[in-house]
């Protein structure tokens, strides 16, 4: 019998962000959009940072963005990532404005330029969790 590899950290799902993770599991990338003023933001917030409205929805976005920056972790801060160092983490600027941290799939960031176009791709961790990740646009 194999030892179970140490678990990776999972998102802390609460009333505010549940819609994001439900949509991700269904293969849709969303950001929180204010029903009153249209302001888009991520991560979710209990009220709109622009107008303080409580009426907000998880709205689908294009899934397109640009590579703003990246970092390669040579240190494992969690045992669950120990096997993967040195792994990449990217910062994506979504077309709709908000920024997201993610991982780059299908290429290494050293081979890309800051500003290069990316698109979302969904990685199912298990039945209950899917993580939005990104790859170079048009790589499919």
């Amino acid at each position: 019998m194999h030892d179970t590899p140490p678990a990776k950290p999972r998102p802390m799902i609460d009333a505010t962000n549940r819609g994001f993770w439900d949509a991700a599991r269904a293969g849709t990338l969303t950001v929180q959009r204010c029903d009153d003023c249209g302001h888009s933001h991520y991560p979710g917030s209990p009220v709109c940072p622009n107008c303080l409205s409580s009426r907000q929805s998880w709205a689908p976005v294009s899934g397109r963005g640009e590579l703003l920056s990246w970092v390669r972790f040579h240190r494992a801060y969690w045992d669950g990532f120990r096997e993967e160092v040195p792994y990449n983490v990217i910062l994506v600027g979504l077309e709709e404005g908000p920024m997201m941290i993610s991982n780059l799939l299908g290429a290494e960031p050293e081979s890309l330029q800051v500003g290069e176009a990316l698109e979302v791709v969904f990685e199912a961790v298990d039945d209950t969790l899917t993580l939005p990740k990104f790859r170079p646009a048009g790589a499919a």
């Binding site: 950290p9 999972r10 940072p49």
Partner: protein, 377 residues
């Protein structure tokens, strides 16, 4: 029109400073270290400790326990969270309280036992939104920013090395400093990567120690042991818009630090060209580059070239972190840098003294950016 806060110009003095040794002290705790720094600061200014009627504590668990240990029952107390950006925030709060008469003598005490308690600054100790992607730690945020700075402006890691090398040089001149082996640009380039492009020598130390500053009004300062060091300029601006991506700003806090610089220079009536020494919050080496740009020592994107050739070393154009900073002296989260600013103005720095230091600036480029300009009283 002159902003109202400019009325604080040269009103409040730092009159006493003290620090413990820096290192690994599992035999004591944060209160013990804080008490020692307080005792030294009291001795430094010659005040009867019972005259201290204002207490600010940072990274200490419980202000009242600190008061109990020091035998103080002040009429002004503030507890600041254990965040690196608090030092100048606390000094400015104390200055405002003193000017308002909420206290007459304020002691600010900071203690850190991160080394002996093996603090990690990432992972399970500080859960965040981005953990599922393996993203954590303030160092990684600065790696993201520096990577972007390289891409936008052509800044190089050899230029970044100039920061660590100059600051280590100063630590070698400071008997209190933790790191006293000189390093070269090649050492920096060969150091172990942690969150590439950042390497070990881009990271601050983690060590135990404590720092205390005692402040009072200009009038009361005259009766104390040493020549007062005046707070001549202050500036402040927060950047909370992307606080869920901690310690990161897409534009390197340039706009916020420009604002801070305008406030502080405008109040003190000086400019970057008048600054004899800079005490620059150096949690990670790129922060120094971002600070130099925001403060106006060079244009945005030009800090890499600016620091080349020893600009930040004693004898260079802008001696920076003359005590060895967080990178090589001690991780006192800005507090020791403010003490060093006071000592430079007093001329107490021995081998690392900047000749005739008249204007010394502290600056912290963080989500709560601050600057303080110190001059002789």
């Amino acid at each position: 029109m002159t902003p109202a806060f400019h009325r604080l110009k040269d009103r409040i003095a730092v009159v006493g400073v003290g620090n413990t040794a820096y290192g690994n002290f599992p035999h004591t705790d944060d209160y013990g270290l804080g008490a020692e720094a307080f005792r030294r600061a009291v001795e430094d200014c010659g005040l009867d400790k019972n005259q201290v009627d204002g207490l600010g504590v940072c990274r200490l668990p419980y202000y009242a326990r600190m008061g109990e240990i020091l035998g103080l029952n002040p009429r002004w107390t503030v507890q600041f969270p254990a965040h690196g950006r608090m030092s100048a925030m606390a000094i400015i709060e104390a200055a405002a309280a003193l000017e308002a008469g909420l206290c007459d003598y304020a002691a600010l005490i900071y203690a850190n036992i991160g080394r002996s308690r093996r603090v990690n600054y990432g992972g399970e100790e500080s859960p965040g939104v981005w953990d599922p992607y393996g993203y954590t730690s303030p160092g990684a945020a600065h790696a993201l920013m520096f990577q972007r700075h390289m891409a936008l402006y052509g800044t190089t890691t050899r230029q970044l090395a100039e920061v660590s090398v100059a600051i280590r040089h100063h630590a070698c001149l400071n008997p209190d400093a933790v790191m006293k082996q000189p390093i070269t640009i090649e050492d920096h380039e060969a150091a172990r990567p942690i969150t590439a492009p950042l390497r070990l020598l881009d990271y601050c130390l983690i060590n135990d120690g404590a720092v205390c500053l005692i402040l009072t009004t200009k009038e009361r300062a005259r009766d104390l042991r040493k020549r007062p060091v005046m707070i001549s300029g202050i500036g402040a601006r927060e950047a909370y818009t992307n606080a869920s991506l901690p310690n990161f700003d897409r534009n390197f806090w340039y706009d916020e630090v420009r604002d801070v610089a305008d406030q502080a220079y405008g109040m003190a009536g000086v400019g970057p060209g008048d600054v004899d020494a800079l005490m620059c919050y150096d949690n990670f080496s790129p922060t120094v580059l971002f600070s130099l740009e925001g403060l106006g020592f060079c244009k945005q994107g030009e800090s890499g070239g600016f620091v080349e050739g020893g600009t930040l070393r004693l004898g260079g154009r802008l001696p920076t972190n003359t005590d060895g900073g967080h990178l090589s002296n001690s991780y006192m989260q800005g507090w020791a840098l403010n003490v060093e600013a006071v000592r430079q103005i007093r001329g107490e720095c021995g081998a690392r003294q900047v000749p005739d230091a008249q204007v010394v600036q502290f600056a912290a480029t963080t989500p709560c950016s601050r600057s303080i300009i110190y001059t002789p009283g």
